[in-house]
Structure formats: C-alpha cells, structure tokens
C-alpha cells in the first residue's frame, strides 16, 4: 500500500539520520574530553622532563638557596604540611558541626534557607578576599602576626563553606528510613545523629574534606596576604612561627631569571602534584569503600 511504503522510506532515512547524529554527538564529547586530557598530559610531560633530573633526597631535605644546586623544598614542604594539617584540625570539626546543625537541628524556616544560600555564596568568593580578611582579622586585629596560625585560620575560613556543603550532602544522603527506625526505638535526636547519621555520612564527609584540603594545599594568594614569605631557611617549630608553602616557593623560583631555577621550580611542581595526587587517591579509596558498604 502506498502509505506504508511512504512510512518505510521516511523511517529508513529518519533512522539513518538519528544514528548519524548520535555518532556525531559521541565523537564531540570524546574530543572535548581529549582536550582536557591532552592539556594535562602536555603539562605533566613538560614538568617531568624539566624537573625529574633535579629530584633527589637532597632536594627534599635542603632549604631554599640562591644557588640552584643547593636549593630544596624542605622549608616549603614542612610549611605546607603544618598549615594544611592545622587547617584540617580547625576547619573539620567546625564545618561538620555546622552541617549537622543545619541538617538535623535547624527548624525549617526561611532563616535557615538564608544561611544555606549564604554559605553557598561564600564558597564562590575569590580566595584573595579571604586573604584580605585574614590580614585584617587574624594578623592585625587579633595580633597573631605573620604566623602559621594566621595562615591556617585564613585557609579554614576559605574551605569551610565547601566542607559544610559536601558534609550536608553526605548527611542528606542518609536515608530517612534509618532515622525513622532509630527514633522508633526510643532514641533521642542526639543518639540518632551520633550512632546512625554520622557513621553513615562519615565517608562522604571525609571525601569532601580531603578534596577541600587538597585545594587548600594549592592556595597561594591568601597566604601571601597573611605573610607567608618567599625565602625561609627554617621549618616551622610552633604555631606562631613564620612559614612558607610549596606554591609560594614554586612561584618565587619561577620568577628568577636563571634557567636552572625553572628546573628547580618544575621539581617543586612534581612534589606538589604528588602530594595532591596522594590526597585525591585517598579520597577515591574512601569513596569506594563507602559505595561497597551500602
């Protein structure tokens, strides 16, 4: 019948067009992915070629110096570890507590929603603004001066909104049926939170925290504002000591004219990237364990 023929023919070409469009779309997505991967690959290859020869135990255990052959990341590495660890200690409990309050205790009122929106906004504020805040509040007003503590406090303010948001997500992901069951057994709100919600949300919270900390590891601008210095020949011994961090050290090396310092900088980048990769790997391992358990 004529009408059937028409349908078949139209269907045939329609199917062909659909398939072609699907294929084109898949290729487009693939290429976009490649762009990112290729760029990253180029960076890694370049950095490794430049910096690998300079990597050595000496490099890791020497302080910065005017002489490239004697320059090392010891101070910067120690400073980064100190600052990031301190940031973790300050930011983690405060953020988790805030997330618990917002999810479990806060009344469903417009004020709570306003707070949520504000926290989301804070997460997007440029880090230099936090630097300015840190300078005014911690270094000057509180008189903490240019110290590890100031740096850590500033970075804490920076990453707290991020941790709070991901912790809230993790807490929200705990099924309400679990809470119902716990309440049904005569548990108080605190018991439900402590024994059911936090244990279940913890892997997600930790993942978010580690990712936020690995961002803190790479921050430069706010730390410059609160006084991390470029040339430090000692490792921090206490909270009030001066310090430097890896990104800053790399930046100061890159600024030097001598080509040797470019290689040193590349080596420093490798160290920084290794640290970042380790932290991210930890986050992935945690996330996988969390998936497996549920």
């Amino acid at each position: 019948m004529r009408s059937n023929e028409g349908v078949d023919r139209r269907a045939g070409s329609y199917h062909g067009r659909r398939r072609a469009m699907g294929l084109a779309f898949a290729w487009l997505c693939g290429l976009s992915t490649c762009v990112g991967i290729v760029a990253l690959a180029v960076l890694l290859v370049d950095v490794t070629l430049d910096g690998a020869p300079r990597l050595s135990v000496d490099f890791l255990s020497s302080f910065a110096s005017r002489f490239p052959d004697r320059a090392g990341v010891k101070a910067a590495l120690a400073g980064s570890v100190w600052v990031v660890t301190l940031t973790a200690v300050i930011a983690f409990p405060l953020s988790v507590a805030a997330a618990i309050y917002l999810e479990e205790y806060a009344p469903k009122h417009w004020t709570t929603r306003a707070i949520q929106t504000n926290i989301a906004n804070l997460a997007g504020v440029p880090s230099i603004v936090y630097g300015i805040l840190g300078l005014a509040l911690f270094v000057r007003a509180l008189g903490l001066d240019r110290s590890v503590l100031s740096g850590a406090l500033t970075l804490s303010l920076l990453i707290m909104p991020v941790i709070i948001m991901s912790a809230q997500e993790a807490i929200r992901a705990v099924p309400s049926t679990i809470r119902d069951a716990a309440y049904g057994l005569g548990a108080t709100r605190w018991q439900v939170v402590r024994h059911q919600v936090i244990p279940m949300a913890l892997p997600g919270i930790l993942t978010g925290t580690i990712l936020a900390l690995s961002r803190a590891l790479g921050e430069t601008a706010p730390l410059i504002m609160v006084g991390a210095v470029g040339f430090v020949a000692f490792t921090p011994g206490g909270l009030s000591d001066q310090f430097t961090v890896l990104p800053l050290q790399i930046y100061s090396w890159v600024s030097r004219p001598q080509p040797e310092f470019q290689e040193i900088a590349a080596a420093g980048i490798i160290v920084l990237l290794s640290l970042l990769l380790t932290m991210n790997a930890a986050a992935i391992v945690l996330r996988n364990r969390y998936q497996a358990r549920s």
Partner: protein, 260 residues
C-alpha cells in the same frame, strides 16, 4: 458517624484509646475525628484505600508525627489512661513502650547483633545484652537462621529475614504495643506468610496494630478491623463481622472490591 461494634465484650482491657484524633499537614486534613479502642493482646487492622489516613493514624499512636515538620495533631491518645500528647509526656519514652515496624525493611548498616542491641543500648540497658538479643531473635523466629553469624552485616539477609530482624529489633526494647505499617507489602508470598504467622504468635505477649492495604491479610490475622475512608473512621468491629456482614454500605462496597 462511625459505627463501632462489639469491642467492650472482648473481655480485654484497652491498651490504647484514640479519642477524637485529627491530624492535618498544613491545610490538608489527613485524619478527621477518629475514635477507637485497641484492646490488649489483640491484633487490630486498619484498612482502607490509598491515602485514607491509616498510616497517619498509626503514627499518632507513638508520636512519630512529631517528627514531621508541619503536622498538627488534635484530640487525645490514651495509653493506660494517660494522654500521650500531654505536656509532661516524653515522646522518646513513648516510642520505647510503643514500638514500630516499617513498610520496607530498614535495618541499620551494622551487624545483626548491633541492630538488635541498638534499642537497649540507647535506652541505657546495662544487663545481659547477649540474652536480650537472643530472646528477641527467637521471638521473631529468626534465631535459628542467624545464631551462627550474628557478626555479619544485616544487609546480607534476604528481605523477609531483614523484616524479621526489624521486628526483633523492636521487641528488644520490650514494648507493650507493636505498631506495624504494612510490614509485608514489600515481601514475597512465602515471606509474607511467615510474618503473618509471627504476628499471630506475638499477640500472646504484645498488642498489635497493623496497617495493611491487603484486605485478605487483615481478614486472616486480625481480631478487629477498622475501615477508614478519606480520613474518617467508617466502621470498626470484630473482623468476622466486617468481612461477612458489615453494617455500613461503604464498608461492604470496599470489602467486596467494588471500589478502592
């Protein structure tokens, strides 16, 4: 006007009495002026079409509606003569004495032992926890299947076993009343049968109120049945009467399958 028959003659003292209970969420009324008596050591079934308010009514009995943000409960629920919604009454204590089993099995992501032990622990129990766990698992007919693997995750159990675990968990705090919200609706027929048999055995020691959308289940296991429609109690009486000769036309239309 609801028709209530033959409860006083059961010879059992009332465990729970709802008096003019109404529940609304914001502007919507879910339960309207319901009064009924739950006799001790009996099984009372709440039936009715979807959305008739039976689960909402059930949650009034252990103050679970307190946890829903905009729920408002009016009327009183008397438990041993004392209104559960009175000012001085602690809802946490209420929930220990009136337990609840939910529709989908919801064991905690912990071991079988820790699931059953959770209730006693949060209620400050310091005695023989092993004994309590074993007794509860025996009462819910699960002990023989799990006694050798109490440390295993509760998620390793089948759906029917998980639900029996949830029942054991509820029994571990030694409630007087057990509320069940469609406990078998997510289980296969064999598992459902085992739960029904379990309920029949449990009523010797506990009072049970069960919500079910499955009329035949209510017919099989309950002593008294309440038919709710659009938030109102239409008829409440002995199960046999409801299913062989109900007084209200709407009840008869529902149980004969003419609507709902």
């Amino acid at each position: 006007m609801a028709t209530v028959y033959g409860i006083g003659s059961s010879g059992a003292a009332p465990a729970l009495e709802a008096k003019a209970v109404s529940v609304s969420y914001g502007d919507a009324t879910a339960v309207r002026d319901v009064s009924l008596t739950v006799p001790a050591n009996r099984v009372v079934a709440l039936i009715g079409p979807s959305g008739c308010g039976k689960s909402t009514l059930l949650r009034c009995f252990n103050r679970m509606n307190d946890l829903v943000p905009n729920a408002r409960v009016a009327g009183r629920v008397d438990f041993h003569g004392r209104d559960l919604y009175d000012h001085g009454v602690d809802p946490v204590e209420v929930r220990r004495r009136i337990g609840m089993v939910f529709q989908k099995p919801n064991p905690f992501p912990k071991s079988i032992f820790d699931n059953v032990a959770f209730g006693p622990r949060v209620n400050g129990f310091h005695g023989d926890l092993d004994g309590v766990v074993e007794a509860s698992l025996r009462q819910s007919a699960l002990w023989d299947e799990v006694s050798d693997r109490l440390g295993d995750s509760a998620y390793a159990l089948s759906g029917g076993q998980q639900q029996r675990l949830c029942i054991a968990r509820t029994l571990a705090v030694k409630p007087e009343v057990v509320l069940m919200d469609e406990p078998a609706s997510s289980l296969d027929p064999i598992a459902t049968q085992r739960i029904e048999e379990l309920i029949y055995q449990l009523k010797e020691r506990y009072t049970i109120v069960i919500v079910t959308h499955n009329m035949q289940q209510a017919a099989r296991i309950s002593d008294y049945t309440a038919f709710l429609y659009m938030g109102e109690l239409v008829e409440y009486g002995p199960t046999e009467t409801i299913f062989t000769n109900p007084r209200e036309e709407r009840t008869e239309a529902y149980v004969t399958g003419r609507f709902g």
